[in-house]
Subunit: 108 residues, 2 copies
């Protein structure tokens, strides 16, 4: 598999200001739901928070290709998230990754 794999796959590691964690979670969830619903090129966006350190947020991002990614970061829902949460984010690290196995279960 993964012949001619043009997907952009990334992990975002974020540290959120604990004072704004609930708002941040809401805005991120809205942004992800809109992206998955409206953008065919956004293949996966999975966001989780560490249970013991909930200010530590991790997002696994999969875009169909570079073009899909470039389009994503220009959408109104992404810009709303980006601008609306900027002051809540204490640290952000974007890590390019290569797939070993990145496949959701396909339900019949």
């Amino acid at each position: 598999m993964d012949q001619q794999d043009e997907r952009i796959i990334r992990i975002a590691e974020l540290e959120i200001d604990p004072a704004h964690l609930a708002e941040y979670r809401t805005l991120l969830a809205e942004e992800i739901e809109a992206s998955i619903a409206k953008e065919p090129g956004v293949v996966m966006l999975h966001a989780v928070a560490e249970r013991e350190r909930p200010e530590q947020v991790r997002i696994l991002e999969v875009y169909a290709d570079r073009q899909a990614y470039e389009a994503h970061i220009r959408t109104p829902h992404f810009l709303k998230y980006k601008e609306g949460t900027a002051y809540m984010i204490k640290a952000l690290r974007l890590i390019d990754v290569d797939p070993i196995a990145v496949n959701a279960k396909v339900y019949p």
Copy 2:
């Protein structure tokens, strides 16, 4: 959504011996493909390697519930992976996480 969310969601952070990285990737990919194909309760297993530090492997694991997880770690394919790769793994950290948004795109 996520009413009555019984899913077990976890991030595994692994450091692999660089001398065995290719073998490790193959064994992990086989294990994941078998789990997704054979176990209804294994919802997602996404494994990636950092591009700049490929010995750093991250796995996002989603199981339907505790029972599905307990069944998973007793399967022949998991035990083959676990026993076959033990000597390749220099460090392993399992992090319990809570979902903010964990939803694959559902294709029509």
